[in-house]
């Protein structure tokens, strides 16, 4: 436990000295709020509500997606610097080192979501539900982000190369947020692609938030993630964590700087 505290303290010092990290993970989402929620809001219409309300849940999920790259880069840079070797040559638990990355980056993500929420409120986004529902929505988003952070840890340990990490995670950010209901309801997609997009955790998390916040949910269809987005979110994220966490621990055990 004291290991986790010491290592998380290290990460928090990083965040204090380089707060740019918060900007780097909120930049794309903020651009989306401005472009879609403000500029395009008048030409895109959704049933049962305003488009600037609809789009925000998906934008918050984008913060989580952006954290994959940020975390992976942090992990890879420790690997390159030889710090990972040092930690691995010390009598501390492997899990504590990786856990510290995810705890500290969750704080980064929460701060970035705060910034995104601020911009959202400026363009007219409002939560039309109760306080507890609002909190539940953000809790779900943080849960989603947490799973993404572990994915970032795994990618950082497995790929090591900074440029490759940048490329892959930037592509994943675009792919996973556009292949979801973040910005458009999925009605128009062909059947198989629609199934993929519906099971994308970004879709179910965003839809669950829209339901909780009264933000023009897109629900149409009979599949499980559409009818029970909160259940689908918990399910897919649980499976993701169950796969990714053991893989990350294994990658850490055999990690080499080169």
């Amino acid at each position: 436990m004291s290991e986790v505290l010491a290592l998380t303290g290290r990460q928090m010092t990083h965040l204090r000295r380089t707060p740019e990290k918060i900007i780097s993970v909120s930049l794309t989402p903020i651009a989306m709020v401005v472009i879609l929620g403000y500029l395009f809001a008048s030409v895109i219409s959704v049933k049962d509500g305003e488009y600037h309300d609809y789009v925000m849940a998906g934008v918050f999920a984008q913060v989580g997606l952006a954290c994959v790259g940020a975390t992976a880069l942090g992990v890879a840079s420790d690997l390159r610097a030889g710090l990972t070797d040092r930690f691995r040559s010390m009598p501390i638990s492997r899990a504590s080192v990786l856990f510290a990355y995810t705890v500290a980056d969750l704080v980064t993500a929460a701060a970035a979501m705060g910034a995104v929420a601020g911009i959202g409120l400026l363009v007219g986004w409002r939560i039309h539900g109760g306080f507890l529902e609002a909190v539940a929505g953000f809790a779900l988003l943080l849960g989603f982000t947490y799973a993404m952070l572990w994915l970032g840890v795994l990618i950082g340990l497995a790929m090591r190369n900074m440029e490759a990490i940048n490329g892959v995670t930037a592509l994943a950010l675009v792919l996973f947020s556009f292949l979801s209901n973040s910005f458009m309801p999925l009605r128009g997609l062909p059947g198989w692609l629609r199934a993929v997009a519906e099971w994308n955790p970004v879709s179910s998390v965003a839809e669950a938030c829209r339901v909780l916040w009264g933000n023009a949910p897109a629900s149409a269809g009979a599949s499980l993630p559409v009818r029970h987005p909160e259940l689908a979110s918990v399910l897919t994220l649980g499976v993701l964590l169950a796969v990714v966490v053991p893989l990350a621990l294994r990658a850490f055990r055999t990690a080499a700087a080169r």
Binding site: A6, R10, T13, T18, A256
Partner: protein
């Protein structure tokens, strides 16, 4: 505990490439073993295996009395590892780096702070202790790195090319700090590309080539193994070179090598002091004015080049 570090038949393969082909090592407590060898000879892989970072495919090894594969945690409590790059957290200050390691090693917050101050004093880093380590020079980073491995007072220290890329002054400072640890009884395994570093720090030297040990001994033993002593003389004027060469030839009955550029004559010395005496007598008789007369031993560089350059043939003759 007879040996602080002991390895038997360590093997490791990465894909098709056999990095370690059966490495045996034994380092008595309180001594320094230098690992020499060209890039890719398996030095770093050996260190990583002994430091529990890499599991060997075959063979066994103990460090500080514990098996590196079966009891890695016990080994990790007793070792310090300084890798090829200074493993410092660039965003943290020097002090924060050391406190972090202290807390991870279980010294507690207060204990870690006290230990950090001791090390900052000992390594001359007190003035820079409050600055982020990314502002440090290469030498300061290496010192901080070495200090970081000493936080928990390890019994065994692994130094993987500790002075690569340092300027001569920083290198000497670091050498002195390593020597202080040696004087305290720490066992050190040192890999290096610099033969003078091995000469200066190591009690014994092991030469690696293609994943195995090709020679082992003290620096003197290795030098002797590689070549005989040579007698070298320099003359003042190049006209006297031939006369000097003739005189030396008579003394040792072997054709001397003449270097006209440097006005030097060198000959292999096979029978020690007797040859020296005869050479001196012959030179005096010939009346050649000699400005330098010296017996030279091969340098470790020559040892290194000869052993590793001919790799395959010297394999069997090594490790006696």
């Amino acid at each position: 505990m007879e040996f602080a570090i002991q390895a038997e038949g360590l093997k490791k393969r990465f894909g098709d490439h056999e990095v370690l082909a059966g490495v045996d090592l034994s380092v008595p407590p309180g001594t320094v073993l230098g690992l020499l060898g060209p890039n890719g000879a398996g030095k770093t892989t050996t260190v990583r295996t002994l430091a529990t970072l890499l599991a060997p495919d075959a063979g066994r090894a103990t460090v500080a009395g514990y098996d590196v594969v079966r009891r890695p945690r016990e080994v990790r409590r007793r070792i310090g590892l300084a890798g090829q790059y200074a493993a410092v957290d660039e965003l943290l200050t020097g002090r924060e780096n050391l406190v972090l390691i202290g807390r991870l090693m279980g010294l507690g917050r207060r204990g870690a702070q006290t230990r950090a101050e001791e090390l900052l004093d000992g390594f001359g880093l007190q003035d820079a202790a409050g600055r982020p380590s990314k502002t440090y020079s290469g030498g300061m980073r290496r010192r901080l790195d070495l200090a970081a491995c000493l936080v928990a007072s390890p019994q065994v220290l692994f130094l993987d090319e500790p002075t690569t890329g340092l300027d001569p002054a920083s290198r000497i400072t670091l050498w002195q700090q390593v020597r202080e640890q040696i004087a305290r009884g720490v066992t050190v395994l040192l890999t290096t590309q610099y033969l003078e570093e091995a000469d200066f720090l190591a009690d014994r030297i092991t030469v690696f080539g293609s994943g195995r040990v090709i020679a082992e001994g003290t620096a003197d033993e290795l030098k002797r193994k590689v070549g005989d002593e040579r007698l070298e003389i320099s003359v003042e004027r190049s006209e006297s070179l031939d006369a000097a060469a003739a005189a030396l030839g008579r003394a040792v009955s072997e054709a001397p090598a003449v270097d006209r550029e440097t006005r030097r004559v060198a000959v292999r010395l096979v029978d020690g002091i007797g040859g020296v005496a005869r050479a001196a007598a012959e030179l005096e008789r010939s009346g050649v004015p000699v400005i330098d007369f010296a017996v030279r031993r091969p340098s470790l560089d020559e040892v290194f080049l000869q052993l590793t350059g001919t790799g395959a043939q010297t394999k069997e003759s090594g490790d006696e």
